[in-house]
């Protein structure tokens, strides 16, 4: 019989094996959530144990890519938490205008909804042309979908509502073309976007930035890994640059709490002090 302790040992071994073989580092993710996701995958792949899954993942890279879809939670929305984007527009954009050119890093961009939201906001505020956006993630499937910018038409109704609540004043359908049940995003929105594979767990800073948006990624990290990521953002951000987080994420419990001040605390908008 497999006890709970056995399962915990197997999970540690699987994560270690993934790191050694594929260099994806999940060792410092929040334990409870990753355990659930691995056990879910064990069921979906019809493996008897986590060890059985490990054997398949170790010997078959395509199996690892499938498992990665479970490990990364690729869910997103356009203008997710509209009040956050409204605060970006009202409180942050006026300050962004003071820089002649902008570099913006969207870390953990998943399938790209956040990137297009940001690009739309910047375009409406006249800032997109002088901006470079770096959109990074560890999941190559998600990055590919982000680059394509094709989403289910069904979701557009809700996104349009989010957009409106986020202070959007145009008709949201101007930003996409509908075809075969899909919404194809206006490709000029990504003219200034560079999509790249980058891990907050293993990679280093690649550019100076004025704004970093890392939303709904840090909750999956433990404190040590959060601190690593905050360290990267701190290093990347220029003097008085902005860091924006997901609505349940905070810098307060981190080692970097004193290096940032809250600009709009309820919307998780911080500024390098």
């Amino acid at each position: 019989m497999t006890t709970n302790r056995d399962t915990d040992i197997e999970i540690r071994l699987l994560i270690e094996a993934i790191y050694l073989k594929y260099s994806y580092d999940f060792r410092d993710y929040s334990g409870a959530s990753i355990k659930r996701r691995i056990l879910h995958a064990v069921g979906q792949f019809e493996c008897r144990t986590v060890s059985a899954l490990q054997e398949r993942v170790l010997h078959d890279p395509s199996m690892f890519m499938e498992l990665l879809q479970y490990l990364t939670i690729p869910v997103s929305e356009m203008f997710r938490d509209p009040s956050h984007f409204l605060a970006l527009r009202n409180e942050v954009v006026p300050l962004l205008r003071t820089w002649p050119s902008l570099k913006i890093w969207i870390a953990g961009c998943s399938t790209g909804e956040e990137v297009y939201s940001m690009a739309i906001l910047l375009r409406e505020e006249g800032l997109l042309e002088r901006s470079i956006l770096y959109a990074t993630d560890i999941n190559p499937y998600s990055l590919e979908r982000a680059k394509q910018g094709i989403y289910s038409l069904q979701n557009m109704h809700q996104y349009a509502e989010n957009y409106r609540l986020a202070g959007g004043r145009r008709d949201f359908s101007e930003y996409y073309t509908a075809a075969y049940g899909n919404a194809i995003m206006d490709s000029s929105l990504r003219d200034n976007v560079t999509f790249a594979d980058h891990s907050l767990a293993t990679d280093s800073v690649f550019s100076e930035t004025q704004l970093v948006s890392c939303r709904n990624v840090m909750i999956y990290f433990n404190k040590d890994l959060q601190d690593r990521a905050f360290g990267l953002f701190h290093e990347s951000l220029c003097h008085r640059g902005f860091l924006v987080l997901g609505s349940k994420e905070s810098i307060d419990f981190s080692a970097y709490a004193n290096q940032f001040e809250a600009l709009v605390r309820p919307e998780r908008i911080f500024r390098k002090s």
């Binding site: 709970n4 334990g31 409870a32 959530s33 355990k35 909750i219 419990f253």
Partner: protein, 191 residues
């Protein structure tokens, strides 16, 4: 008198009144931390923590990501996120798919807390029209914890307690007042 490091409580339909009834019986100095998941609408802010705090005159907070669990506190899961307990006895939030149509899900809290606290955990499942929590409660039992199910005959909606009873035999099947009285005798155990 027995001891515990934490209490987890799950409830759904009819849960607010049931929670008041149970938590209201705990003395003001009650030191064992209590963590609650009540099914809520996902898309709007919840006032559950405020409402409980005012009624109970105890400190009640929505659990934050990476927050350390503190003695004497009551935590509730906020809407839209699963709440878990980590091995270092801090809280974490996540947005995996809903379980039994619920996020927060009772199973998430129960299963993670069962792993973190082992035999030092008390799990309580109350009224509800949903199967959530049954698997989690069984896991608490499996890991050596104490399990309590509200008597389905008394529950406002019996489905949730019944689903739990179908899966394992809890240590106690009690009325709300009985649950409150039993919990009130618990002492915090040394970590």
């Amino acid at each position: 008198m027995s001891s515990a490091q934490a209490i987890v409580i799950g409830a759904s339909a009819g849960g607010v009144a049931a929670l008041f009834e149970v938590l209201g019986r705990l003395p003001p100095t009650f030191a064992v931390p209590v963590l609650c998941v009540l099914h809520l609408p996902q898309d709007r802010p919840s006032h559950l923590a405020d409402v409980l705090q005012r009624r109970l005159r105890r400190t009640v907070r929505e659990g934050c990501d990476k927050e350390r669990i503190v003695a004497g506190m009551i935590y509730v899961a906020g809407p839209g996120y699963h709440l878990s307990v980590e091995h270092d006895l801090s809280l974490s939030l996540s947005q995996e798919d809903p379980v039994h149509f619920s996020r927060p899900a009772i199973d998430f809290l129960f299963e993670s807390a069962a792993d973190a606290y082992g035999g030092q955990l008390v799990g309580v499942l109350l009224t509800g029209a949903n199967q959530d929590g049954a698997a989690g409660l069984a896991r608490i039992k499996q890991n050596g914890g104490l399990t309590i199910v509200q008597d389905p005959r008394e529950a406002q909606v019996a489905l949730m307690p019944e689903a739990a009873l179908a899966l394992h035999r809890p240590d106690h099947i009690l009325s709300l007042s009985g649950i409150g009285q039993l919990l009130a005798t618990l002492e915090p155990s040394a970590c």
